[in-house]
């Protein structure tokens, strides 16, 4: 700090500068925010799915917020396979019960956690999903087992509205 006294002019400079900076910043925000998801996009934030047509061993892919969501009715073998795995073997340890609210139904975002490709179903070394882009292998619970992907396939928020209907989002 200098020993010059604080003058009226210093005060005016600093207040003017502060108001200008605050004004400029608040003006910039609308120009940034206009690129965020808008009201019409947010209005499409949930999707309801009727589960009745899906037989055990079948999967469907639905679109939610522009992303594919896998809904798979797992076979008893797949469920037991998923439950049998020791958590020590997993790069991203997570119990199967934490991933499927109802063990029969596996609902997850069908986007590889590596770089965003869509993995192929019932492929790969763990009989789950296999991403053709860079070779990530997921198991029957959608957990990463081998390859470059860092985490398990993402589980979206969803609820069972009744036995036959789920609501994603």
């Amino acid at each position: 700090m200098s020993d010059k006294p604080v003058t009226r002019r210093n005060f005016l400079y600093i207040t003017t500068g502060t108001f200008t900076a605050a004004g400029a910043a608040s003006l910039v925000w609308p120009f940034v925010d206009q690129m965020n998801p808008d009201a019409s996009v947010k209005a499409l934030a949930s999707t309801e799915v009727d589960l009745r047509p899906i037989a055990p061993g079948q999967s469907i892919t639905v679109l939610w917020r522009g992303k594919p969501v896998f809904i798979r009715r797992r076979t008893p073998e797949e469920i037991s396979e998923a439950k049998a795995v020791s958590l020590d073997e997993l790069p991203d340890p997570q119990d199967d019960s934490a991933r499927a609210k109802n063990p029969e139904w596996l609902v997850m975002v069908g986007i590889c956690t590596h770089l965003g490709c869509i993995p192929l179903g019932q492929k790969g070394e763990y009989n789950g999903w296999f991403c053709p882009c860079h070779g990530s292998h997921y198991d029957t619970s959608g957990r990463i087992r081998k390859g470059p992907a860092p985490t398990n396939l993402e589980i979206p928020d969803y609820v069972f509205l009744n036995d036959n209907t789920i609501k994603i989002g």
């Binding site: 206009q34 690129m35 808008d38 009201a39």
Partner: protein
């Protein structure tokens, strides 16, 4: 003017030695010698630059959400207004910004006319300015078509039909413009493309406008030549930087008043009805800033004649430096011109009023009289005034008119001691 600029930082020095860009900007914004008596009418150059940049930035952002298709355009504008975050704000800034841009440009042009800024050696600055004005008209008109409301559609129909007045090839030219046999999607898409392009052409012309201005330097309210670097000039910074900024703040308050309180005051309600090619609105009017020229168009009972006269009303501006035969610049020292130039401004505003009325009866007759006067000002009054007007004696310096008699005496005696 920029010889003495030395960047303070090492990086600045390194850069400036290789590309003297900082030097150039510094020279035009900091020490640039400016007449010391410029009034607030001289702040509109800065305000206009601000308007142009605002229109480009908001326009760029709106283009991220707008869809140029006859079936989707109207809905996409409503989408901007209702769904896009702050879309209403961005669009209202853009729409009102266009109006305020024209308000500012008309004041800027009126300033030039009043103080004779277009005269030797500043003819080229003025002519570049006329081209900027032309591009602004084209840009604003095409922009008004984009929301694809009833006024957009029928405005586009009327204006593009002007080209059908051209003898022999008129119809082919019109169909070529439309990309069809009526106004529709092809026209909308090409208008959007051109509306996007033209502001950048305006920007380039603005650079030439300022460059050409900085050769002779600013005119001033006295209209006399000042010697750069003499007692009559002050550096642009801080004197006119602060003055321009203050004027800009006042302008922004008015701008914000429009955007936040009366955003649709200058627009037309019919433009919130989607374009309907089967029905023309009862009363077609262009945006307020085109009304004087619209009145001239309607004053002529002949299709081709009306178009020619309307185009001439703008084109004649480019010849102003030679139509005005007086050597004295400022209206302050031209007692007759001072009255006539005010009469011309009043007549132009009156034409604007007539342009908003139904072209019938008295309005049509008054429109014809005002149109004749508009052209008479340029073709008869201005050339004659140079010969018959007795101008007042010009001051020798900018200080002289503001000094008292006593101060002048002191100055005169001081010159001898």
């Amino acid at each position: 003017m920029s010889d003495n600029y030395v960047p303070k930082s090492a990086v600045g020095k390194w850069f400036n030695e290789r590309l003297p860009l900082l030097d150039l900007i510094y020279g035009h914004l900091m020490p640039y010698p400016t007449p010391k008596n410029l009034n607030y009418f001289w702040t509109f150059g800065g305000i206009l630059t601000f308007c142009l940049v605002t229109q480009i930035i908001t326009g760029l952002v709106l283009a991220m959400h707008y869809v140029a298709d006859a079936d989707l355009a109207f809905a996409s504008v409503e989408h901007i207004m209702r769904d896009v975050n702050y879309g209403w704000l961005l669009r209202y800034i853009h729409a009102n910004g266009a109006s305020l841009f024209f308000m500012a440009v008309y004041i800027h042009m009126a300033r030039s006319m009043f103080y004779g800024s277009y005269k030797e050696p500043r003819e080229l600055i003025w002519i570049i300015g006329v081209f900027i004005f032309l591009l602004m008209i084209a840009t604003a008109f095409m922009g008004y078509v984009l929301p694809w409301g009833q006024m957009s559609f029928w405005g586009a129909t009327v204006i593009t039909n002007l080209f059908s007045a051209i003898p022999i090839v008129g119809e082919s030219v019109t169909n070529w413009l439309w990309g069809g046999y009526a106004v529709g999607s092809p026209l909308l898409t090409r208008f959007f493309t051109l509306h996007y392009l033209m502001p950048f052409l305006i920007f380039a012309l603005v650079i030439l406008h300022v460059w050409a201005l900085h050769v002779p330097g600013n005119n001033n309210p006295e209209g006399i030549d000042v010697v750069k670097g003499s007692q009559d000039t002050v550096p642009f910074h801080p004197h006119y930087v602060v003055k321009d900024l203050f004027a800009l703040v006042v302008f922004l308050i008015i701008f914000a008043g429009f955007v936040f309180f009366v955003p649709n005051l200058l627009g037309h309600t019919d433009n919130y009805i989607q374009a309907n090619p089967l029905q023309t609105p009862e009363h077609i009017v262009p945006e307020w800033y085109f009304l004087p020229f619209y009145a001239i168009l309607r004053a002529v009972p002949d299709k081709l004649g009306g178009v020619i006269l309307m185009v001439s009303a703008i084109a004649i501006l480019a010849f102003l430096p030679w139509l005005d035969t007086s050597k004295v610049r400022s209206a302050k020292y031209r007692p007759l011109y001072k009255q006539f130039v005010w009469l011309f401004f009043a007549n132009t505003i009156f034409l604007g009023y007539l342009g908003a009325q139904v072209a019938d009866g008295m309005y049509l007759i008054m429109g014809r009289i005002a149109t004749v006067y508009y052209f008479a000002h340029f073709i008869i009054i201005l050339p004659l005034l140079g010969y018959i007007e007795k101008t007042k004696p010009l001051p020798k310096s900018l200080s002289e008119p503001v000094l008292s008699k006593k101060e002048k005496e002191i100055l005169a005696s001081g010159a001898t001691t």
